[in-house]
Subunit: 252 residues, 2 copies
Amino acid sequence: MPPRGRVPGATGPVLGRALRVLAAFTPDRPALRLSEVARRAGLPAATAHRVLGEFCEWGALERDEAGVYRVGLRLWELGALAPRGLGLRERALPFLEDLSQITRENVQLAVREGTEVVYIERIAGSGAVPVLTRVGGRFALTATGVGLVLLAHAPADVQEDVLHSPIERYTPETVTDPDRLRHLLADVRTHGFSISDRQVTSDALSVGAPIHDGRGQVVAAVSLVVRYGSAAPHTLAPLVMTSARAISRALG
Amino acid sequence: MPPRGRVPGATGPVLGRALRVLAAFTPDRPALRLSEVARRAGLPAATAHRVLGEFCEWGALERDEAGVYRVGLRLWELGALAPRGLGLRERALPFLEDLSQITRENVQLAVREGTEVVYIERIAGSGAVPVLTRVGGRFALTATGVGLVLLAHAPADVQEDVLHSPIERYTPETVTDPDRLRHLLADVRTHGFSISDRQVTSDALSVGAPIHDGRGQVVAAVSLVVRYGSAAPHTLAPLVMTSARAISRALG
């Protein structure tokens, strides 16, 4: 949301309203009627209707015959230009597919956005354990294999922010104690991989490793998610780390 | 672009300017400086700067230390909600991967947007012939395997629009005569698949088939792109059609 107190003539309020209309569309609510958009954006129906009309005309949103609005192809095309989205995914995909075909397990690629994980790609292995994630979806940094890697390499202020906030519990195994989590993160940095052992769902284990850009910064993480008990995490780690390094090289 | 002549107080001009800023980012020019954005959007630098600032704050755009703007992760996340983008791709992906692994050739998934093809997914086969397409990219409806399928099943006014416009030539094989193209499109509808024989590049051939939604509408197309001479198109057609039907069923 734009800051308040702009000088008159600044685009603030109008663009702010328009962005609130876009933000009404979420993974949980990707299809909305006018009244729902107006309510979620906190706008009068007439204003919401006008903004929706302009977005539809441009192609950012699409309206079906039943009057339901959805995100349009033009916004998808524009989003496809995000270097941390499709750009990263395009370069990583061949390696993710290799990892998927060799292991027949779930392979995930994610980046950090603020204090959350955003999943950029997910390849479901044939017969692999079900996972909660979806491409474009978000998750806490504190529980998953990719999340632990991204948190371990996040700036200190992000780590402190996360460690000083309530840490959500997903299973009895989820580490919610900040001190234990600090140790886990130090281990990730020391060993070069993370293990999330039934911390997200009680039947799954994931092993993550960092992807570096050309300047050595951790820009993403890759993980394998397997059924708990089907493989020892320490046998998976070299595989994930090898794949992560190959992707890092491909990023230059 | 928004229509002119709106009543005072309508969001038109301001949102229009903002959308012009977004539209400055294209597959050819995904990274832009302030001056380039201002020029491409036709805005004074001060206005462009203000709009860019608001988009960055929201996460729609990202600005690096060198002052270069790119599409941000939040826009990618929002674009991921487009049913014709990632939604379609998620449901089709397992079938596309099967087709890719069985044939080891290029597999493509595309939809029609106006008078163009938009590529939603592309899996490059190991050792397959190089192709021009990229995910999120556009191409003419008249030349490719997916394009011929989508044009053959487009509304009559779209077909007439395309057939009455100049048809771009990519190779000596490209069909640019409207009457020959009309016959090709009729063949696509009769036989249930398209063949683009060296019409895009001189070394490649593609075979496309339509994907239907639950109401029988053609909503997308899938194709195999192989090196010219490596396989007879009529042996590929049943494979592509089978995959297209499986995806159609998955769409319900």
